[in-house]
């Protein structure tokens, strides 16, 4: 806080052109990122020893039917022509049609992504609100039993296979205790009652004031979100702990303590503020990686999310869907990075 004034010199309103330059710089780098992303995915899809035509016509198709689809897909053209053609469609906002679902890819993503968003957001929130205090707590009591407990919990959460954890949790909390609902996003008899607005079921149910559906969705969400949350929590707690340890051994902390500042202020106001930037980085990364979708969790909980969608598309060599999904995931990473940048400025005056 105290060193803030130095950076203020560059502060008041940079000239308009330089702002434009900055914005166009960001745009150029964004465009390049997406071009690279699509190009790499496209090339990978073409060198894989999988046949996209067989994905459509099935393994028993006659050669005649096969050729017909082969030409329809434009696979006889050189790969760069195919790629340029794809980019052309993309520029018009057309992600193509999925083979697997027979729907436009954009419609599929509108359906699958909110499911993942709902799950990843709750999991990350759990990670933040439990993981961060745990990490701080462990760092403050370094080497004593609270620290050991947090470290064991974090290690377990990080290393236990999520697939196994999910099944055991289902067995205990759903099958044996009956506290929560089972796999799926909703009980089947609630399906299709409310109009999807955001695609996030709890939000839509709340908007429609249908509380039965709201709580049913919540009951379905708790378990997978907690499982994913354990993973996020473990990672965030471990990182918080090590960042805090680093800060707590600094001389300014010693100074603060010598000055007689209460310990809670030393921890939260002095040390914790200084780890915020690092924390935001890893929380952002955790959130982004959860937004890719967790295939295993989604499979165990029959959660129709983007992870399952992309994986199934890959298995079926449904390239439009894979590319569409990759772009969305890429956009999430870029978006979250930009959001993190913004937050840095909020919490660290030096970057303003």
């Amino acid at each position: 806080m105290d060193q803030a004034s130095s950076s203020k010199a560059a502060g008041p309103g940079p000239a308009l052109p330089s702002k434009l330059v900055k914005i166009s710089g960001v745009l150029v780098s964004l465009t390049l990122t997406f071009l690279g992303l699509t190009a790499i995915t496209f090339v990978i899809s073409r060198v894989m020893p999988v046949d996209p035509v067989l994905a459509i016509v099935g393994d028993r198709a006659s050669n005649e039917v096969y050729q017909q689809v082969y030409l329809q897909l434009g696979l006889d053209k050189p790969i760069y022509i195919q790629y340029l053609r794809y980019l052309g469609q993309l520029a018009e906002g057309d992600l193509g049609t999925s083979i697997m679902t027979a729907q436009p890819v954009i419609e599929d993503i509108k359906r699958f992504f909110p499911a993942t968003l709902e799950l990843a957001t709750i999991a990350t929130l759990l990670g933040i609100f439990i993981g961060v205090p745990m990490g701080v707590f462990a760092a403050v009591h370094q080497g004593r039993w609270p620290d050991h407990i947090v470290r064991v919990v974090a290690l377990l959460g990080y290393s236990a296979p999520i697939f196994w954890l999910g099944l055991v949790a289902l067995l205990v909390f759903y099958a044996k205790l009956g506290w929560v609902a089972g796999p799926g996003r909703l009980d089947v008899f609630y399906d299709g009652i409310i109009e999807p607005v955001s695609g996030i079921l709890m939000l839509d149910a709340a908007l429609a004031r249908d509380w039965d559906i709201f709580y049913n969705a919540l009951s379905h969400l708790i378990l997978p979100a907690s499982i994913l949350g354990t993973f996020a929590l473990a990672y965030i707690a471990r990182m918080t702990r090590s960042f805090m340890l680093d800060q707590l051994s600094q001389e300014y902390i010693l100074t603060a303590r010598v000055k007689g500042i209460p310990e809670s202020q030393v921890i939260w106001r002095h040390a914790f503020r200084n780890v915020l930037v690092q924390l935001i980085t890893i929380i952002g990364l955790t959130y982004a990686s959860l937004l890719e979708g967790s295939v295993l969790t989604e499979t165990v909980f029959s959660w129709p999310g983007i992870g399952q969608y992309i994986t199934n598309s890959l298995f079926n060599n449904d390239m439009n869907a894979v590319l569409g999904g990759t772009i969305v995931v890429g956009a999430c990473f870029v978006g979250i990075n930009m959001l993190s940048d913004l937050l840095y400025r909020l919490v660290d005056p030096r970057i303003r």
Partner: protein
Amino acid sequence: MSKLRLRNFLLGITAAVMLGMGSTQAATPSNTFVMAKDIADIITMDPAEVFELTTGEIIANIYDRIMMFEPEDLQTLVGGVAESWEVSNGGKTITFKIRPGLKFHSGNPVRAEDVAWSLQRVVKLNKTPAFIITQFGWTADNVDSLVKATDDLTLSVSITEDFSPGLVLNALSAGVASVVDKELVMSHEKDGDLGYDWLKSNSAGSGAFSLKTWKANEIVTLEANPGYRHGAPGMKRVILRHVAEPSSQRLLLEKADIDMARNLTPDQVKGIEGNSDIAIDGYPKGTIVYMAANAAHPILGKEEVVQALRHLVDYESMANSFLAGQFVVHQSFWPGGLWAALEETPYKQNVAEAKSLLKAAGHGDGFELTIHTLTNSPFPEIAQAVQANLAKGGIKANIVTLEGKTLWPKYRAREHDIILARWSPDYVDPHSNADAFAHNPDNRLEAKLTGVLAWRNAWADESSNMLAVKARNELDIDKRKQQYLDLQAMLQKKGPFVIMFQQNEQVARRTNLQGFVSGSNFDLVFYRNVKKQ
């Protein structure tokens, strides 16, 4: 006032939480049949294109076909929308009378015109399953004159090839013979696509159910057709819920959140056997598991070597151990339980016999080969057992497992030594499998008969080809049956195939649900008699 509101709101929430949590205990609604199934294979709902297992059974419940096998008697071919039929013109023309008074879900009447158009549409769209009817000599150019409605309720079907009318009738019970509502579909036509785009995710049939929703990788909902010709189905709704993980299916079934689990593994079936609320039913299916040796391979091309393979495999011990309940030993190309199936299983493991055959072929010292198979259970397990079996004859087998999407291109390009795979009939006539296993009219690589298993294994045999064609064209039904029995016996002794097992589908259901029927072919699964107590 506002305080009171807040309190009511909080009370409401608490009540709702308790209700919400409570609902996890409730069973499925009494008028709805909910099953958990892996439905990731669905890519279209259009009967002109459907060729996947899940949609095969779904369209069987949505569309009536020209000819049908009904759940009440799965052995007998009867008329679907056809009330009667007459064969004339030396077996080349069949005239169908359509049942009067039938209605599509839309309310439109079912006319001979709709039936003719449905077949014409399949031929013109020419998607994968079209070969089932285009083999009669129908092309986009001639089908309008060969398949036509002569009046509102009379349909005339002529073929140009010499096929047995019995075979034609059987083929007209396949999914491509589903009767589609012409008026409704054509009202959704785009750029002359014959409604192809629309019918991918909609239905236009006259069967027991209509398609209400299909959300890929999530759910399929069917709604009962109360005006169905056999009366309203027992359930108002049928829901297929996508649950890819078998353990999750088991948990859902034990909690009564679903009525039926379709994809349990043998372990899981064993695990729930003691549960008195759950019954396990076994249904013999038409899927057979076979090994095939590429005849272009310098060693595997020798007949004695393939015969030695047949003697090396220990069928019994696999069927009694890890395949127990899910597969039975079957050694001919047409599945047991169907008309004209050869049920004899002449082969048992006989290492001495195999060794002498290998010696006679000049490979007494053994050799090395690769077995390509699928990644999903039970194929890797079978491959491992076969590997151990072959080792007894001095054959060193390497196993490569691949996803179907990677395996099939290899197989279709003849790039394998030995393949271990499955096959199920496309329609219920032995010609369906004979055409794949026994009939290869052009063995050249350029011929690209990629749909034919014999061609994929570079195997062609004059006598086998002749018998397959003879049986296909035979007018006399008893003679035809004998010819197929002979053909199966012939392929048990020569040819590239080591046919091993036939599938037995295990379905676990809550005992209060009854009337589910699953027949020997993949699309003979019926929901309309399902009832709940």
